[in-house]
Symmetry: C2
């Protein structure tokens, strides 16, 4: 990441505090100059880590000024003791920044079931705060990495007088990895955005991005996406249901989708990025269900790895999606090459063409249900030897 | 299989008809001396192969005398033409046996989307019927194999005056493999069983066996389990809600569970057979949901392969099962070794003990939800390099 467009009024810091025994960066801090409007999306998992228990009600109040995040330990399944440690880190930071603990959000990612040590925070917090700088966004993106092969940053800019910037960073590889834990996303903008719009925009953007990617179908105890808008740009306030709101949503969608695609690309052992596009659905929810069923099928994903235009596995996954489809109407194509029409094979030549598509790093599988006008897409990766290696070796 | 207990009044035949280009056995035939009472369970996949379209309504009428099965081609996604071929094979067999086509059931397993050739049936049917013998059950078990590493036969005997036998055979490896297709199960008994009991007993037995195993979570276009009772034993008729019915159900459960475990053991690349036992559920359905969520998690399955007592992945899979659990009450153990109590780690020594359990070929993971008295189990395998190899290489 050579150039990061940093929204005004945000500063960043990162350090190696010793939580990770490797000595790599493991603490990150994002601070807004003033309390920002905020919105959040949190894991649906019933097992919820301590930082989420504390952060969720704070974000719900609509104001946030600082995000403190650690990697190397998820502080999940750690009970009352884990909660006490999380509260203590929150107080340490609030004290150092001289703000209310109500304005602090916490995130953790790493091993589940081990107590998060407090001492790295006690020892490091002054240094962490002292390091705050508008230039250090990249450092935070690196401090939140666990099994990620690369850091993930994306940005968008609205130019002109009413201009503002949107900056996102995320971690996640092998979506989702409950052990090293977690998909985290932090999105910052200096636009002035109403709370209503912020919430609805984030919900929609997450649905089309982070909730439309799958590497292994598991969701973690620590997943969270936070969106902060501090209004430090010169632009006027953006309200819901206006042309400006639409533009803001487009920028947000773009940033989140870029991050989501990076996560799929960084899927453990992934060699391909595949978009599963379902068209002709009777409604969006059923189209999503079909796309998800295909995107999470281990057999479909191994066929991608084998570069095999195996539409039989795809149509079977459509069939068990739970959606009432008519198999005799289904068309399937790889990029623009049809492999099945009306549920029947297109035959030799088109399959040879399709096999060439599968050799690409990135391609689109389009499934037309011919039931209506609704569309939905999922992004997935192939399932490779490397996936098994990374995930079977990991703790030992 | 040295000794197979064959129920009276059934004969078997198998041959290599040329559907499989390898020259291996690919046609199987089971014939009862008289029309048998029958029950069936069929795939829930919306994409249904031609043989199922013909067989389902026939089984629903309650009488079946012959099962004709081929491997090497699933006759799925083959449209009207595939249906015509299936009808023609049915007529060929009925003509040769001089019975009504209403008494013939068809099953196919193999590649999806390629037309099943009729000529192997035309050329082979006389030889197939001529080969019928009470001694050839094993040949049919072999004729239905596709990627199976071994044939699967199980049996049970009720001794005494009212004695009878139950014989089951199945195919399936890498449950389920939509490409080579299918879990097939054929269960035969010479007991005299009422249609009501036959249907309810099969539903229950399938739920506890074939519907409680998972290797990769995919279900195929061709799955079917048929149960035939021809009453050729000397025993009197068994009616529902009697002590005799209970004994019959026990024998049926045992045979189906044995077959199901063989399928998990034969899971593509599987090295371990793991029972996921959920206890303390508020009801059986939610306990099943939790067990299924854990059993189908790619991350849990790769951890088994890595022999890592990674209960964090297990509790995360419990958490996203969709069941309302209380994480702080959950206990997890491997065989009898606790790794988590009240959602918290048991610590070093017990984890070392648990790691030893994971080195076994077969073990039980018990998850206590402490919500009620309901229990449910799933059988699963580990996810190994070999799984990816088999499924990515397969068609090419």
């Amino acid at each position: 990441m050579d150039l990061i467009d940093v929204p005004a009024g945000f500063r960043f810091s990162g350090m190696a505090s010793g939580i990770k025994k490797t000595g790599k960066l493991d603490l990150g801090l994002i601070v807004s100059d003033s309390p920002a409007n905020c919105a959040g999306v949190f894991t649906q998992n019933k097992v919820v880590a301590a930082p989420l228990i504390l952060t969720k009600p704070r974000i719900a109040k609509g104001k946030c000024q600082a995000i403190l995040v650690n990697s190397g330990n998820a502080n999940a399944c750690t009970g009352a003791e884990g909660l006490r440690v999380a509260e203590a880190t929150m107080e340490l930071l609030a004290g150092e920044l001289q703000i209310s603990t109500d304005l602090v959000s916490l995130a953790s990612t790493g091993v589940i079931g081990e107590l998060l040590p407090l001492s790295p925070f006690v020892d490091g917090i002054s240094e962490l705060v002292a390091g705050l700088s508008a230039d250090h966004a990249q450092v935070v993106a690196e401090a939140i990495m666990t099994t990620d092969a690369f850091s993930k940053v994306a940005s968008a800019t609205e130019y002109g007088e009413q201009g503002y910037k949107v900056l996102g960073m995320a971690k996640g590889a092998g979506m989702i990895h409950p052990n090293m834990a977690t998909m985290l996303g932090f999105v910052l903008t200096d636009a002035q955005v109403s709370l209503d719009l912020l919430n609805s925009a984030l919900q929609q953007a997450v649905k089309k991005s982070f909730n439309s990617i799958t590497v292994d179908g598991d969701t973690s105890t620590n997943d969270m996406v936070l969106l902060l808008a501090n209004g430090s740009s010169d632009g006027k306030r953006i309200e819901a249901d206006t042309p400006e709101a639409e533009i803001f949503c487009q920028h947000l969608d773009e940033v989140l989708l870029d991050l989501a695609k990076m996560i799929v690309r960084d899927g453990e052992g992934a060699t391909k990025l595949v978009k599963i596009k379902v068209v002709g659905g009777s409604n969006v929810e059923s189209a999503r269900k079909v796309a998800r069923s295909v995107a999470t099928s281990s057999l479909v994903k191994t066929a991608f790895f084998g570069e095999d235009a195996n539409w039989g596995r795809i149509i079977a996954a459509v069939g068990y999606s739970g959606v009432d489809v008519n198999p005799d109407r289904i068309d399937i194509s790889f990029n623009q090459v049809p492999v099945a029409v009306n549920g029947l094979a297109c035959g030799g030549e088109s399959e040879a063409e399709a096999t060439k598509v599968l050799q690409l790093d990135e391609f689109v599988v389009t499934i037309d249900l011919h039931q209506g006008e609704a569309e939905a897409s999922y992004y997935t990766s192939d399932l490779s030897y490397e996936y098994v290696k990374i995930n079977s070796d990991y703790r030992s």
